[in-house]
Structure formats: structure tokens, C-alpha cells
């Protein structure tokens, strides 16, 4: 059965390819589904909806686009769905580095190799946050205090980006944290504002409101250089005023979370190329710049070999941390 349908598919593809002039690129012929591997309202969902609205506004394709949320199992639901849709170029999966990190640490029924990588579109930065009235002014003060008592560090999900970074800080600064996983970064931010945890490593957009509202403040950014100058967040400070962690003696020079876009496996290179091109057009619009600025992310576009390399490097890194912590799935 499988072989027949594959045969049929390839025959159809062959016939289509033969029928069209060699120069005409692949174009979608039916509605496209954007699959957000997160619940409504989260960062991944916002990205999918921002892209949807830009594509629709500029009529970048004739076909309508629907966004569906498949955020169950920390996003695994969406990736498993992508895996099951092999060969279907009308399903576009929006995710994060979860796509390659999750299969390392939990027994989920997919791997990133089951999907066709399209691009990494934006990078979310990480910062170290403490409560507004905490006594420490710098990351150095914080780590000194952390060496004396075991701090409670909150974050989104378990064995995911937030915990990986927490464990990296432990190692770099030779301290020990109790990591408490919450459902989302927003929840961790509220717990910090209430003083139930001592710190977290949220993305800028997850804690922007709290910083502006003076319930918590960033100590340092896990970035090789200071974040770009945007509008001031508080009356006196903006993102570029936050020192890098390296400046403050915490030797983690870079830690970012890419927003990634995938097609299911077994799609043709022409189909993949269509979406790479589509996303490039999206990225050139003023609405995209606006979205990036409002969500305080870093604009990037990785595709092809550059994206593959990025994944490989990140995998090495996470494997090392996960191996040390004994998280790797056997």
C-alpha cells in the first residue's frame, strides 16, 4: 500500500514536473496550514500569526492560510503531526529549538530529521532576572549570594532551554540551584514577582511588562554584545543598558532560542524553496520589523547549510549538558 502510494506520488510529481516549464517554481494549489507547536498566545503562536497576517496583507500567495495550535506535550504534538504528514507541502510547522532538543531528553515519537528544515527566523535572547527589591546589583553579587544558599530558579518546562541554561550557569559559576519547572515563562515571571522563586532566565518579551512595572529587573544578558538600543523600557533604562553576563564575570557568552520553521519530511526541493522564498519576502516588510521590535527579538534568517550548522552546534552543546545531568534518553 505504502509503496503504491509513494509510486503514485512520485509519478504525479514527475508528470507535474514534466508538464510545467522548467523555470516555473512550485506554487501552492490549496489552503496552507500553519501549525504552531504551542498554545494560543505563546511566542511561537504569535510568530505564526504574524507571518500569516503579513502574507495575507501583501498577498504573497493566492491560497488562504489557517493557523492551528498543536501545543500539547510541550510542542511534541505539532512535530508528531508534521512527521505523520510526510510528503504534504501544505503543512508548515512553526517551532523552536525544541524540534531537536526534545527528542534528546524525552521519549517523543519524532526527531528533527523527520522534518524538512526551512528556516530559523528570529532569535529570542535570554536574560538573568531577579526581583526588583533583591539586594544584588550585579550578576556577581547574585552568584556570590547563590554560593552561600541554594537559590530557587524558575523556568518554563523541564529539561528544556530554561533548565539547560540554568545548569550551564551552575557549572560556569560553581553554584547549585533548585530548578522549578512551570508551564511557561510568563508563569515563572509572576512567581518571581511574588517572591516565590529567586530568579529566572526569561526572554525579554516574557518579562517586559514586569520590568516596566518595577516588579523585577534584568541583571545581565546571555549575549556576546549588548542588546540593540530600542525605546526605553523604564524611565531611565532600555535593553542596551543591560550588561552582558560576560562583562559581569559569568562566562556564558551566548545563549539564544531560535524560532524555527519546518515542512514535513519527503517534500520536494522546489516546495521547500517556495517557502524559503515566502519567508524571505515576509522578512523584508515593515510589519515584520515592527513585530521583531515589539517582541524584543533579534532579526535573523538562517536557511540551508547555515541552519543545518546551527542545529548541529546547538545539538552538541545540549547533548553535553544533558549528558552531564543524566537526561539523555536511552
Amino acid at each position: 500500500m505504502k509503496i503504491t502510494s509513494k509510486l503514485l506520488l512520485s509519478t504525479t510529481a514527475f508528470m507535474l514536473a514534466g508538464a510545467l516549464p522548467a523555470t516555473a517554481a512550485w506554487q501552492p494549489q490549496k489552503p496552507i496550514e500553519f501549525v504552531a507547536t504551542a498554545g494560543p498566545g505563546g511566542g511561537t503562536d504569535n510568530l505564526a500569526r504574524a507571518v500569516q497576517s503579513i502574507v495575507t496583507k501583501y498577498k504573497l500567495t493566492d491560497q488562504p492560510i489557517v493557523v492551528v495550535n498543536k501545543g500539547g506535550g510541550s510542542g511534541a504534538e505539532g512535530y508528531v503531526y508534521g512527521k505523520a504528514s510526510a510528503g504534504d507541502p501544505y503543512k508548515v510547522i512553526f517551532g523552536t529549538s525544541n524540534a531537536w532538543q526534545q527528542p534528546l531528553v524525552s521519549k517523543v515519537a519524532f526527531n528533527y530529521t523527520d522534518l524538512t528544515p526551512i528556516a530559523a527566523m528570529a532569535q529570542d535572547e535570554f536574560l538573568l532576572w531577579v526581583k526588583q527589591d533583591a539586594p544584588y546589583k550585579t550578576a556577581g553579587d547574585f552568584l556570590k549570594a547563590a554560593a552561600a544558599t541554594e537559590f530557587k530558579m524558575g523556568g518554563a518546562q523541564s529539561k528544556d532551554t530554561d533548565e539547560v541554561l540554568t545548569r550551564m550557569i551552575e557549572k560556569a559559576a560553581k553554584v547549585k540551584f533548585t530548578y522549578i519547572p512551570f508551564k511557561s515563562g510568563a508563569e515563572a515571571a509572576v512567581q518571581l514577582a511574588g517572591g516565590h522563586i529567586d530568579a529566572h532566565v526569561n526572554n525579554p518579551s516574557e518579562s517586559l511588562g514586569q520590568w516596566r512595572g518595577s516588579t523585577q529587573r534584568p541583571l545581565c544578558a546571555f549575549s556576546p554584545k549588548r542588546l540593540p538600543q530600542g525605546p526605553k523600557v523604564t524611565t531611565s533604562e532600555g535593553w542596551s543598558d543591560v550588561p552582558t553576563c560576560v562583562e559581569q564575570g559569568l562566562a556564558i557568552s551566548q545563549y539564544e532560542q531560535p524560532r524555527t520553521v519546518w515542512l514535513p519530511g519527503k517534500v520536494s526541493p522546489e516546495q521547500a524553496a517556495f517557502y524559503v522564498d515566502l519567508l524571505k519576502k515576509v522578512q523584508a516588510t515593515p510589519e515584520w520589523k515592527d513585530y521583531i521590535e515589539k517582541t524584543s527579538q533579534v532579526d535573523t534568517f538562517l536557511t540551508g547549510a547555515a541552519f543545518d550548522n546551527f542545529i548541529k552546534q546547538d545539538l552538541e552543546h545540549v547533548k553535553q549538558v544533558a549528558g552531564e545531568q543524566g537526561w539523555l534518553v536511552k
Binding site: R49, A50, G72, T178, K183, R212
Partner: protein, 508 residues
């Protein structure tokens, strides 16, 4: 009185022709998505969201929140008429709403539900208006142990009640917890109980479970009993709508108590679902008519509906002031807020006065619009009950199948839903209570997360549940609710207190 001035200013923003039109459109769309099970408010709002990108933020939020009010009201319609709750928070409404409708009083049941819902929403908005800043502080006091204590209180208010044997309640709870555990575990990150089915990694959706348990389960029973709805008077009876509303003040105590429970659970992030269950449980225990609950008692509709709407309304406050969404719908709206360029959080009240107070004023007006529109539809919906069972039964099956599929376009969900239908049928046949099962499915995993987060914080010491006044009070109140009726029952049965039985329940 500064708040009152801001509110009046808000009214000048909300009460304009374009905004009133948006409210009517939003409410009507909301009623539609609320009535169709499986669609629900969160999906409806996310479908509408892209249309709002070009709008003024305040117009956009008025449209979306009106849709939310409409959906909250609409969700009660199917619960009452067909025993299919469209939203988790309207499950408790089925307990007395459905028997009353089946008894030939669908108009009364719907009007009572809408009337008390409007009262609950009103109390919620008043609370937001006057206590916004104080309320935000209360929510901050809730860490993992306090969350767990709130969920514990909700379970406790339910365990001891009901005609079912306590052991059967415990069994139902345990099955519910097991179902809630399916999928990825937040605290350990590992996959649990997927039984080799890859897709189960997403967990079991609440909507799928209740449509099967209630909708299909009830249908199977009805088919077996060759159930015929009692003849409902064929003329459209407007007077009954007003008579039912006029009788509401008789349930004054229940209204006030339920509104208080609703507001409390909305602010502390227990949410509307826990609120409606708890309110029903407490009403059953303390009402004079408590014994008749479950047979179509008006107070059994008033209690969950009032609490549901009070909580649903006040749940928007933590979203605005802290950036924690109190419900799935609030989460979608928060996503919208960010896209419109607003940042939910403490500064919203300072930076975006027009937006915040325009929204709050629109809550008053929007709810009035919603209740007026929804009351107009009562006779129409009630007329559905006159359709012969032979016609309506296949329709219910279709609604449930489509509803289950549309949750996440998954065939597995349809199979699961039908499976839950069989479970619901067996539960009824064997006299096991469904309510604790559903409660455990809905808040079981949240309670588990909170408990384990608390245990991580305290390094395994249960002392954390008595660490401060707030959490101690909540835990003790929960234990009192849990143990008192059990103790009384055991004293009555065995003539000696048996602590072991109490312990067993508490562990679960």
C-alpha cells in the same frame, strides 16, 4: 474615587456607535461558537484575532471580549438542553440544568442560568472596578503551595458530597487523575501513559472527554430507556423567561455566596472551572434543598453559573495587571495585546488608561448587551426540545463527532470521545459519579504540578503547606470540608470514628 472617574471616562469610549456595533457582532459570534461544542471561546477568539490587527487596540479588545461573554453564555445552552458542556466551566451546569430541561422546563432552566450568570459577571466587573490594585497584590501571594491548596479545596468541597458511596467517588477521582497524567509531564519532562500511541503525547483534551462522558453517555442511557422528552408546551413562552428571572432573588444567599466564590477563584488563579464545581458542591451541602440537587433544582443552576461568570470576568484582571492569563481565552487575548503593541502587566493601568478603562466600561455594557441578546434567544433554543428524540439523537452524535474532531483535527479524538461515551454509560449504570472524574481530568494535572513544584521548593517537606497564614488557612479549610461529612458518615455507620478512611482520601 479616582477609579470611578476613570470608569466614567471609559464609558465615553465604550458607549459609541461603532463600539456598540462591535459588541453586538462579538456577542452574536460568541453565542454561536459557544453553542457549537468543540469550537468554544478560545478557538473563536483566535479565529477572529487576525481580523483585529488593523484595529485600534481598544476596539479590538471590545470585539474579542464581547465574543468571550457571548461564548460564556452560549456554552450553557448545550449543557442544559443536551447535557453537552461546551466549556469546562459549564460542566456543573449540566447537573441540574439538564434534568430541569428534560423535565419539560427548558425555558426556566435557560433563563435561570442566564440571569444568574449576568449577576455573577456584574459582581466580577464591580470588583475589578474598585479593587483592581488590591486584587493584583492578592494574586501575587500565590506560589505553588498556595495553588495546590486552592485545588485541594476544590476537590475537598466535592468529595464528601453526593449520593454516591465515598469509595466510588475516590475511584472516579483516581481514574480522572490517571487520564490527566497522560502526555508530557511538566515537572519531569517525560512522556507518561501514552500506551504506544504517539499522538497521545498531547494528552487528553477536556472537551473530548466531556462530550463523550456526558453527551454520548447520556444518549446511550436514553436509548436504552426509550426516553421521550416530556411534551413541552408548543407555544413560545416569553412570560416564563421573566417569571424565571423574577424568581432569582429567592436564591439571594446562593447568588451572593456563589459570586463570592467565583470572584475569589477568578483572582486566585483557580479559574472558572474550579469555581463552578466548588460553588455547586458548597451549595449542595449548605442549601436547604441540597438533597434534591441533581434532579432539576433551580439553585443547582444558580450556583455554578453565577460562580462561573464571576470567575470568568475577574480572571481578566490578573491578565491585565500581571500578565497571567486566568483562562485559555484570556491567553489568546493576551497574545493579541502584544501584537497590538501593548504589554500586559502592572504598567498597563498607568500607560494605557484609555485602553484599560475602555475595556472595563465595555464589560458592563457588553454584558448587558450579551444578556439581552441571549434572553431573546431562549424561546428559540427551548423550542429545540420539542424536536422528537429520534431526530435529535443522531444530531447529538453528529455534534459530538464533529466537535471532537475540530478540537485539533484529529481522528484519534473522535475514537477517544466514543470510548468516553461508553465509560460514561458504564459509570451511570454502576452508579459511579461523573463529576469527580471530570474535575480530576480538568484540574488534576494542575494540582499535581503545583504539589510537585511545592515539594521541589521545600525539598520534600510537607511543612510548606503550613508555612504561612494563607496556605495554612486554605489547607485547613480543605481538610475540614473533606473530613467533616466523612467523619459524620462514619460515626453514623460504625459508631466510632475511623481515621484510616479519612487518611486514604486525603492522600488521593
Amino acid at each position: 474615587m479616582e477609579n470611578l472617574q476613570s470608569l466614567l471616562h471609559g464609558f465615553t469610549i465604550a458607549v459609541t456607535v461603532p463600539h456598540l456595533t462591535l459588541m453586538v457582532i462579538g456577542v452574536l459570534l460568541g453565542i454561536l461558537v459557544g453553542v457549537l461544542p468543540g469550537l468554544g471561546a478560545p478557538n473563536g477568539v483566535s479565529l477572529l484575532l487576525p481580523l483585529t490587527f488593523g484595529m485600534q487596540p481598544v476596539s479590538a479588545i471590545i470585539l474579542l471580549s464581547s465574543m468571550y461573554w457571548g461564548a460564556l453564555f452560549g456554552g450553557s445552552v448545550t449543557s442544559i438542553l443536551f447535557n453537552i458542556p461546551g466549556e469546562p466551566s459549564s460542566v456543573a451546569t449540566t447537573f441540574d440544568g439538564y434534568p430541569m430541561a428534560r423535565d419539560g422546563r427548558p425555558t426556566t432552566a435557560l433563563a435561570t442560568a442566564f440571569g444568574s450568570a449576568a449577576f455573577g459577571a456584574l459582581v466580577g466587573v464591580i470588583l475589578i472596578t474598585f479593587l483592581a490594585s488590591w486584587v493584583a497584590q492578592v494574586a501575587l501571594a500565590f506560589g505553588p503551595p498556595e495553588y495546590f491548596a486552592v485545588y485541594f479545596l476544590a476537590f475537598a468541597s466535592f468529595v464528601g458530597m453526593g449520593g454516591a458511596a465515598p469509595i466510588k467517588t475516590v475511584v472516579a477521582l483516581a481514574i480522572g487523575f490517571a487520564i490527566a497524567a497522560i502526555g508530557i509531564d511538566t515537572v519531569s519532562g517525560s512522556v507518561r501513559l501514552t500506551m504506544g500511541i504517539d499522538e497521545l503525547v498531547k494528552g487528553v483534551s477536556f472537551v473530548v472527554a466531556v462530550m463523550g462522558l456526558f453527551g454520548i453517555g447520556e444518549l446511550l442511557i436514553a436509548v436504552e430507556e426509550e426516553f421521550q422528552a416530556r411534551a413541552v408546551s408548543s407555544r413560545v413562552d416569553w412570560k416564563e423567561v421573566f417569571r424565571a428571572l423574577g424568581r432569582l432573588p429567592q436564591h439571594g444567599v446562593a447568588l451572593l455566596r456563589s459570586a463570592a466564590i467565583g470572584c475569589w477563584m477568578g483572582i486566585t488563579p483557580g479559574g472558572p472551572t474550579a469555581a463552578s464545581f466548588m460553588s455547586y458542591g458548597i451549595a449542595k451541602r449548605f442549601s436547604r434543598n441540597g438533597a434534591r440537587f441533581g434532579t432539576g433544582e433551580a439553585e443547582g443552576i444558580v450556583a455554578p453559573e453565577t460562580a462561573d461568570h464571576a470567575a470568568g470576568t475577574s480572571a481578566l484582571l490578573p491578565m491585565l495587571s500581571l500578565g497571567i492569563p486566568g483562562s485559555a481565552t484570556a491567553a489568546v487575548m493576551m497574545g493579541g495585546l502584544m501584537i497590538w503593541g501593548l504589554n500586559p502587566g502592572p504598567m498597563l493601568f498607568v500607560d494605557q488608561k484609555d485602553f484599560v478603562w475602555g475595556l472595563i466600561a465595555s464589560m458592563y455594557v457588553g454584558n448587558i448587551v450579551a444578556v439581552a441578546l441571549v434572553l431573546l434567544t431562549v424561546p428559540v433554543f427551548a423550542a429545540l426540545m420539542r424536536i422528537p428524540f429520534a431526530v435529535i439523537a443522531p444530531l447529538i452524535v453528529i455534534i459530538c463527532v464533529v466537535g471532537a474532531y475540530s478540537v485539533s483535527n484529529s481522528y484519534l479524538d473522535v475514537v477517544l470521545m466514543l470510548g468516553f461515551g461508553v465509560v460514561g454509560y458504564l459509570f451511570k449504570k454502576l452508579h459511579y459519579p461523573l463529576a469527580p472524574l471530570v474535575l480530576a481530568i480538568v484540574i488534576g494535572d494542575k494540582a499535581e504540578d503545583a504539589f510537585r513544584q511545592a515539594m521541589l521548593m521545600s525539598k520534600g517537606s510537607l511543612g510548606i503547606f503550613f508555612a504561612n497564614r494563607l496556605v495554612t488557612t486554605l489547607v485547613l479549610a480543605g481538610m475540614a470540608l473533606l473530613l467533616l461529612p466523612l467523619a459524620l458518615q462514619i460515626v453514623r455507620l460504625l459508631r466510632k470514628p475511623d481515621e484510616a478512611a479519612g487518611e486514604k482520601v486525603r492522600i488521593i
